[in-house]
Amino acid sequence: MDKNINITLKVWRQKGPKEKGAFETYQLKDISQGSSFLEMLDILNEQLVNDGKDPVVFDHDCREGICGMCSLYIDGHPHGPDSSITTCQLHMRKFNDGATITVEPWRSAGFPVVRDLMVDRYAYDKIIQAGGFVSVNTGGVPDANAIPIPKKDADLAMDAAACIGCGACAAACKNGSAMLFVSAKVSQLALLPQGRAEAARRAKAMVAKMDELGFGNCTNTRACEAECPKDVSISNIARLNREFVKAKLQD
């Protein structure tokens, strides 16, 4: 049964990308364990506003685990201590009365801090812009059932397509690698006949863009997979490597 708890929060506060940040400590009383982590932050912010202080800035939007906007590093884990969820789906029942909770932004070379807990993830958009699509224009495409796709392939493609682009994979990686993100898109499109035609070009372009933007290399620590809120598998990275090597051999 949910009850009310008292907690201590240590929150990273940072004015801007170039400024020095520091932890600030806040006490919160009588937080219902039925509230979500972000609702707890709402309560903190309400308290700060009432005290005439600047509220903590953090990204959030859909609050149902699908937009990929929320991005908190809680007690050393992207999206907190629960598995297979985003920060907005984390509930306070995962914490005990009297707990001290540390909240930080994503820390990764590819994602500079904008303010407090908000980071800039435009790098992920740029990687998609480099090749994460099928080059078709609107209109003039064949009937949707013209090409049968084995259910197994469609399901695998869907598993990869579940990625929400939140950035937890790169934030969890000690090398700051975006390989799980890149491989999810490369896999989804390489598994489907519609994306097959430009699979080689796509793999090369997206990997090149990822390198250019300062993301690190993959050393198979599997931290990304463990922290991914959508359980995207690192078998996608293996598939990306195959696609990449195949493409390079064709050069």
Partner: protein, 646 residues
Amino acid sequence: MTQINSKIPKGPLAEKWTNYKAHQKLVNPANKRRLDIIVVGTGLAGASAAASLAEMGFNVLNFCIQDSPRRAHSIAAQGGINAAKNYQNDGDSVYRLFYDTIKGGDYRAREANVHRLAEVSNSIIDQCVAQGVPFAREYGGLLDNRSFGGAQVSRTFYARGQTGQQLLLGAYSALSRQVGLNKVKMYKRYEMVDVVVVDGRARGIIARNLITGKLERFAAHAVVIATGGYVNTFFLSTNAMASNGSAAWQCYKKGAYFANPCMVQIHPTCIPVHGEFQSKLTLMSESLRNDGRIWVPKKKEDAEAIRAGKLKPTQINEEARDYYLERRYPAFGNLVPRDVASRAAKERCDAGYGVGAGQAVYLDFAEAINRLGKDVVEARYGNLFQMYEKIVDDNPYETPMMIYPALHYSMGGIWVDYELMTSIPGLFAIGEANFSDHGANRLGASALMQGLADGYFVLPYTIQNYLADQIQVPRFSTDLPEFEEAEKHIKERVDHLMSINGKRSVDSLHKELGHIMWDHVGMARNAEGLKEAIDMLKKLKKEFWSNVRIPGKAGDLNVELEKALRLADFIEIGELMAHDSLDRAESCGGHFREEYQTPEGEALRRDDEFSYVSCWEYQGEDKAPVMLKEPLDYEFIVRQQRNYKN
């Protein structure tokens, strides 16, 4: 009095769109390069429009409130998208999809628009598959379908419980390709704060850079609004936190009609409200009603025992359960349209049969798990069950889910003609932001269809009919006095808000607005309550403008200021909703007036008096708006009382 001209093409219903396309004006490729189009919003409608327009050769400026266009709230749509493919050979057709949508909308939508929507629905599925959207498939490799409310065929395409996500990411990939080709310039973390009208035509916008807090000016030959709906007026809804009605409201204040504001949808299957700290409500997809059965206890004592925690739902045997939708609506059962299902839940809870804290009913999968096996149920709804368990801490495989209706979608919105142009020339509205296709109630899986229809297949045609006259018009300077004036006006508004320095946070005022709306302008409305609401909203507006507290500075990243600007508009939207609800003295679809119901408690439409779209025209600060009527003359189908019983 101004006449409303909806510009519906003449001719037989099924030929209108074909004829329109055959005779409309086009812009040649060389001229397209000289024309700029602003698209505000990157959801299904905005992203698909921006991508398609750029592919055709126009220069597109696309604005996004989030940090990436991939995060627009279309992404949260779960269940599916309708199309008249008839792949299941169950008797579907363009006409049947058209008819179901008109009927589902309680005969308050335009025939010609809805028929066009049904016509282009099939192309959407083709387009999405070509983009690599991983729709669910059968073992034979062909596409799978399921059923949604208000239909007796299986015409809904889906990608697990994440259809909106996959469709949005499809549109986002097409959009990203155009950004990479420099055909779309993407402005992220920007929020539109005004539309700029020059010589009677929309020529640009003022947008606030959410990182720097600076107001910036953008000019173009046409402006497209794709900013979604306004149900966050109620504070608690299934919409995302940043979803707002401000862009639409700015258009209204510059002269665009606002149509049918009272028509909002209350979705029957959401996770019930948990406490005062609640920030938003989570939807459980309508697709669950394919296999889930909705019930409350037959006996009041059982309901009371459940509420007191003395009895578990699994301890109540079959005979003691009231599957009230199956009882009242045998032909459609659990798959009645949303408005009907929502009201039925409220009726049972108000009568004292509610479970949980009293405002909840059960959605039970025990029968489906027995019939299909847990594996099949998990394959169909696994992610939804997981989502439910994470929020409520209950396992829906073992005990029924608890659900209750919540605000979900606005059928009303900016008025548009057949070309999706508002009453301001050069200003277009697409997707949920416009009012056009869903009448008084939207059917499930039709929002995705309409957003993508507008963005991929309708607007890219119709906007050319307008732009063909604009090819000689050179690019505008943002130094024009109209831009100066608009920016000055916004700056004054912002400065005023910052100077109030009162005692109340934006959220506390927004919650108060939500309570007023839910209690008086919610699922059941009556004249007395609406008048009371109008009075309360007036007071709330005064309280907001004299007692709101916004920390920080205007020219800086300031989340509280963003929220305050939106709330100022929400309060006024709420007022207009209340006026429209009062004015429409009938019940239809999502708009239920207690005074107008049949003896069985169903919505009682009054076609002879209210077969029109109410188009509200702004008259100025503190002046009552004027209501114009667009008559809905049905040429092709006969209105009937909606019947989902037999």
